[in-house]
């Protein structure tokens, strides 16, 4: 029996209908997931990245048994998610950012108590588990308030606690830090890392790429429902054309320096952006596959200008996503 969540050639299409005159007619179905194969092993955080509409949320809904795949298979510890949905639900849970998922009229404690019962958590265990989770997400003091009086961040923290109520073996996180204050998001990231260290298999989608780079050992990058790349965050960043960005700020504007940098950019076929910073000082950003900081600084210093700010940004995961999911690149 293979452990972990395993998808093989996973497909999901949605029927589509369009208005044609007075009637709605069926048109070609829309493929949300198209031949996706991935694995979420226990004890590590796996990333699932892609632009909006890439199929991340649909994939998570299939893995969590909410949607049935149109084709392919999904197993959780060897159990098929369609044939053994109830058993799979005992082993997994989902935390979604921006979704309701809890009852507004109930308090946090009542919500957790209710969901604990739906997951058949034994009463004695549930009593301690509810207290632990309220502590964990910092809602102990607000535990007796109806959720309708919570802020968005407090509500999201309760959604996180709900997702942990059954001690899931696998946790599917769909933008879990959406709407959270920085300290709470930081705390959640630490919690995710700890859960993985304790053996929980985590699948994470997030728009905060620093979060993915920090937490994920392995990342799947998808576009239009298909896998376009996979590897560690560093490997993914390295798969793309490197784009180093050199940013520099000068003390005063100098047309000679500007002309020199424009000529340099043209010579290297680099992208140059010229503007001013908040203090009105000239600012340059030069993007190129190679690190051009040496030639840029030489050109500026040779013309007697004073550099007051200089940064070099290496290629990032964001660059990789933008490049690898570019339709032109995908077509090649």
């Amino acid at each position: 029996m293979s452990t972990g969540i395993v998808t093989t050639d996973l497909r999901k299409t949605f029927p589509a209908r369009r208005w044609q005159g007075w009637r709605r007619r069926h048109v070609a179905p829309v493929a949300a997931v198209d031949g996706l194969s991935l694995r979420v092993p226990p004890g590590q955080v796996t990333g699932l990245l892609g632009l909006n509409g890439a199929g991340k949320t649909t994939t998570i809904r299939i893995l969590s048994t909410l949607l049935r795949p149109t084709g392919g298979t999904v197993t959780v510890d060897g159990l098929d998610v369609v044939d053994h949905a109830r058993e799979v639900r005992r082993r997994i849970n989902v935390i979604s950012g921006g979704e309701r998922m809890v009852y507004d009229r109930l308090t946090a404690r009542e919500n957790l108590w209710y969901f604990g019962q739906l997951y058949d958590v034994p009463r004695a265990r549930l009593r301690t588990r509810v207290g632990e989770l309220l502590d964990l997400v910092g809602l102990t003091e607000a535990a007796q308030l109806p959720v309708e009086r919570y802020s968005r961040g407090m509500r999201q923290r309760l959604v996180i606690a709900r997702g942990l109520i059954n001690d899931p073996a696998y946790l599917l996180l769909d933008e879990p830090t959406l709407g959270l204050d920085a300290p709470i998001a930081h705390q959640l990231r630490a919690l995710i890392a700890q859960l993985a260290a304790d053996g929980v298999g985590v699948l994470l989608t997030s728009h905060y790429l620093a979060e993915v780079e920090q937490l994920c050992r392995h990342v799947y990058l998808i576009a239009r429902g298909s896998l376009v790349a996979q590897g560690s965050p560093a490997q993914l960043a390295g798969q793309t054309v490197r784009r180093h960005t050199v940013r520099l700020v000068l003390s005063v504007a100098d047309p000679a320096v500007t002309a020199a940098l424009r000529a340099l950019a043209a010579r290297h076929d680099a992208e140059l952006i010229v503007d001013v910073d908040d203090g009105g000082r000239p600012r340059f950003a030069l993007r190129h596959p190679e690190d051009l900081v040496g030639v840029v600084v030489t050109a500026v210093v040779q013309r007697g200008a004073t550099i007051v700010g200089l940064t070099v940004t290496p290629p990032t995961l964001e660059d990789a996503i933008l490049t690898l999911t570019d339709p032109a690149v995908m077509a090649r």
Partner: protein
């Protein structure tokens, strides 16, 4: 089941003001009040021979009061049970429900148990109001009354589950529920005997378990109506059970359809 029962009571106590309770009684009180006025002011306190022939009783006010109480019971129960899942869907909690390994039937039984406890209070108050208006009900046969209550519950739950699936599949509740309420009010014999209906409408009414539950209730509460309640009780259980089975079988695809709709949104 117990968890859902407690959850629903908590939500009800926090969500609904007492004025809502008054509003739920208004239709029943109005039905009884208008019938009372018509009976006294227009009918001169007498009913026609056709009514007596159709019902086996001349107690029109008792007939209407029991019918109004039954209509209140049925509509309130349908609103609770049939709308339970579409309410979850609209409030964004259907997904978190369906993520759990909990089965649907215990959930629906929990919703039904809470609805029964609430609706029983509403019907009791309605009957008390009718009594204050001067309606005198005969003392029912307790065994037949109990059978009538069981039949009414089975009938309502049986009809509510497929209705719940329809609401989820269609993504709307008002048209579906109001169509059913209108059909029931016309076809089931709440305020007039079904024998007054055209034959086709009468057959439609016979297909609804509520019609049979109402016959058991009439047998328990209508003086002089020498009707054997048990055949109607048996038909009600069979029909209600059949509706329930159909409902439970179409509920999962309806849930998936609702999830599809939200996934595409």
């Amino acid at each position: 089941m117990g968890a859902t029962f407690v959850r629903n009571w908590r939500i009800t106590l926090r969500a609904y003001p007492w004025t809502y309770f008054v509003g739920t009684l208004a239709t029943g009180v109005l039905t009884i009040g208008v019938s009372l006025l018509a009976y006294r002011a227009i009918g001169g306190g007498r009913v026609g021979a056709s009514f007596t022939a159709a019902t086996g009783s001349a107690d029109y006010l008792g007939y209407v009061t029991v019918g109004a109480a039954a209509l209140t019971f049925v509509t309130r129960m349908v609103l609770w049970v049939a709308k339970a899942q579409i309410t979850e869907y609209r409030e964004g909690t259907l997904e978190s429900q369906l993520l759990t390994p909990a089965r649907r039937l215990p959930y629906l039984v929990g919703v039904t148990a809470q609805a029964l406890s609430t609706t029983a209070v509403e019907v009791t108050v309605l009957v008390a109001v009718a009594s204050a208006l001067g309606v005198r009900l005969s003392v029912p046969d307790p065994l037949v009354l109990l059978a009538a209550m069981v039949a009414a519950t089975v009938a309502v739950v049986g009809m509510s589950v497929p209705l719940s699936a329809l609401m989820l599949a269609a993504g709307e509740a008002h048209i579906t529920q109001n169509t059913l309420f209108t059909a029931m009010a016309l076809l089931c014999g709440f305020t007039f005997p079904t024998s007054y209906l055209p034959a086709a409408a009468r057959w439609l009414g016979e297909a609804l378990p509520v019609t049979w539950a109402l016959r058991v209730l009439r047998a328990a509460t209508l003086p002089g109506a020498d009707v054997d309640p048990w055949p109607a009780f048996a038909v009600c259980l069979v029909l209600g059970g059949a509706y329930l089975l159909v409902g439970l079988s179409i509920l999962p695809p309806a849930e998936r359809r609702a999830l599809h709709r939200s996934a595409r949104a």
